[in-house]
Subunit: 435 residues, 2 copies
């Protein structure tokens, strides 16, 4: 028989068990935090009708999508969890309570050019709160709280949630006579990547006067404490209505965040945050790890005016955010911020001699009955091979079970790290390893 | 703007949050049990190279598969978790410890004809133990133990794990002069669906003599306790080597199962279990719910001689089993064996009056700080609408927070089921709802 080389497609992440355990641990922490904050789970299909998924259409999305037909059906793999959420909310509207708080953790697909750290299949962990007709600003403040607790629980101490409000930028641009703010926003959003000079020249290309361009640069460089920045913005005395609305919103959101008791060190206002996506309309967030700025934003989102206008004429404003878990995991691993260790799911491995396998299983059952995490090696093999397995699986303790141990019910407990051995009774074993 | 009707493709399950919570609870119990028994997690891509996934090729699989191209790449969605496991094990062989015990819980895809209770996207929950070159029969006994604990934890009390060994059937058929046992096995496997008469006539079509057909029927109808059946099989004095090997194996497996302490009421030997798949070579399992025989097998699997012969020339024998969770969930729900209730993720909802929202959030934070599961309604709305939300989300207790409560720090706690109200202090709240 001819052998097919076993391999995955390029751009598809696949982990060894030890890394998978670490990945799952992170995914569990994220899920727990989402649930703790009252977000309900949904799990939409990976495949949707192309007509539904591409209702908005256009742009990069359509090029990257995995789209195919079977029979007469034109279908596509989801490329994010937001479009499926819009479809879900519109479809099941009458069965949901609003504000509808949902989370979804799942794989999404983008046929991007394969490159280091970019994946064609990756996990997104999304939360969104959707209002029916309206949704209070308190929700804009709750999302940083969820990020805060999630990243704390993931073990990060130094991270910053950067907050801005698009209306502030849009209103400021309008006060300079710039009406097409979307393109200007996109240029501004790139400043950390392309630098000030390039921002200026791209703005000029868009027809922004040099003086206005410089004012924009000065504006987005306003620094200081949250209160300082709010004060500076007030002091600008800009009379544009949208600007003032944005300023009022961010002031309220910061106020609510303080009510939530979020650590002042963990957030700031950053006026250059704009987010590339055009559907954000108010508050926007990005989150960076203070000591690893190169990783970029690890969690982003914002407020949008209308989630599902392609599927319903009901107006559904919302706030959402997304953690790109596969990418985050990859980057943390690459930067050695996290590292997986081979670790055993059990605390103790019973190694029975070949003629004591029955007794090994019985001991296993008795110990499991007591709630211990224990396993038994049941292959017929030389003792050396059995110990090699113990070594490889990184179990901490081992008992070798021979006729004598079976008779005496006393066991020689070997610490695999130190090599120390102590003789213990069944009860002492239980005592040592329970919990 | 024209509206696209929001809908999913036929054959794709999608649940409301309350059902999703129940589904996730079942999935968590399964995962916990798999991990408790020492199975390590893996998570292979949903998309694989067609060349790899279809290395075996042929049959129904190829017709049902979702296969498509992007650029030059011919790819397919996985139709089970076994072929990806084979590829994974062969690819990462040098980084794995054998016996390699892994679990995978994930969605698989089959473009079957859509029909009630059959899904085109569904969850499988698989465990397999893979040996390098050889694998002891103890593993065949461990799988029923995992099923046993999993189904107990899922809340089932009456279920039966049916065990058989294909070698017993194959050897018995050979003793009747039937060499092509595979087709006969497939016919026998259908007996519960098509009945004895049809089995007899299909066997005749295969060229089996009527007398042999009747002997087969008598054979697979042998009933009794596990020990009775083993005795009956011994008493047949069949001298066929394969038969005797099968009989020896099942005797050993039952012995090991007893060592594991599995409840005798929960398993039997059922000689008509053959499993349709041709790759099982020894022990086979099916599991049925005693009070719901119509649901059929809820968990099946068995022993195979060589997992990954298409990808490596190393011989990798294994034992595996699979729970088809989507189908199981659907059937349990349809039969009203399980039923989801709208239930709240929190124990208590704070409903602040419109002018006390800040104080509502502060109270929320203080209570969360104490570990309580609590939420706050933060939309500006009439009290009636706020209570409607409390009703819809099925939260058990509510506090309305007005100026007076903020000042006095005493709260009127309303039981939403009984309508009773009691006045409580902050500490009394904490006391009542902690844990």
């Amino acid at each position: 028989m001819s052998i097919v080389k076993p391999s995955t497609l390029p751009g598809f992440m696949e982990l060894l068990p030890k890394d998978q355990m670490l990945f799952n641990e992170m995914r569990d922490i994220i899920r727990e935090n989402f649930e703790k904050h009252g977000f309900l789970p949904i799990d939409t299909p990976v495949i949707e009708k192309s007509e539904v998924l591409l209702a908005k259409g256009g742009g990069e999305t359509e090029k990257q999508i995995y789209r195919f037909s079977k029979g007469d059906t034109d279908m596509s793999l989801r490329f994010d969890l937001t479009v499926p959420l819009a479809r879900y909310t519109a479809e099941h509207m009458n069965d949901l309570s609003f504000p509808f708080k949902r989370y979804q953790i799942g794989k999404v697909y983008r046929g991007e050019k394969a490159q280091k750290g970019r994946f064609r299949e990756f996990y997104q962990c999304d939360i969104d709160t959707i209002g029916m007709g309206e949704l209070s600003l308190v929700n804009d403040a709750e999302f940083p709280v969820v990020i805060y607790h999630t990243f704390k629980d993931l073990g990060f101490t130094d991270f910053t949630i950067h907050i801005n409000n698009r209306k502030i930028l849009k209103g400021f641009f309008a006060s300079l006579g710039i009406e097409d703010s979307m393109n200007v926003l996109r240029v501004v959003d790139k400043i950390d990547k392309i630098g000030e000079e390039n921002v200026l020249s791209e703005l000029t290309e868009l027809g922004v006067e040099k003086k206005s361009g410089e004012k924009i640069l000065d504006f987005i460089k306003i620094r200081g404490s949250v209160d300082d920045i709010i004060k500076s913005l007030e002091d600008l005395k800009i009379e544009n209505e949208i600007f003032l609305e944005g300023l009022d919103e961010i002031t309220q959101v910061i106020g609510y965040m303080r009510d939530f008791g979020i650590d002042e060190d963990c957030f700031d206002i950053d006026l250059k945050i704009a987010r590339g996506l055009d559907y954000y309309t108010g508050t926007v967030y990005e989150t960076t790890l203070d000591n690893y700025p190169n990783i970029g934003s690890v969690c982003s989102g914002g407020r949008y005016e209308d989630l599902a206008s392609y599927y319903t004429d009901k107006v559904l404003p919302g706030v959402g955010l997304s953690i790109g878990l596969s990418r985050l995991f990859y980057q943390l691993n690459e930067a050695k911020i996290i590292s997986s260790e081979e670790k055993s799911l059990v605390d103790l491995l019973i190694i029975p001699m070949d003629d004591c396998i029955h007794e090994g299983i019985k001991l296993l059952s008795e110990l499991r009955e007591k709630g211990l995490k224990v396993s038994v090696y049941t292959e017929f093999a030389k003792l050396k091979k059995k110990f090699k397995y113990a070594d490889q699986t990184k179990v901490d303790y081992v008992i070798v079970l021979g006729e004598e141990e079976v008779k005496s019910r006393r066991y020689s407990l070997k610490n695999m790290k130190s090599g120390d051995q102590v003789e213990v009774s069944f009860d002492e074993l239980v005592e040592k390893f329970k919990n």
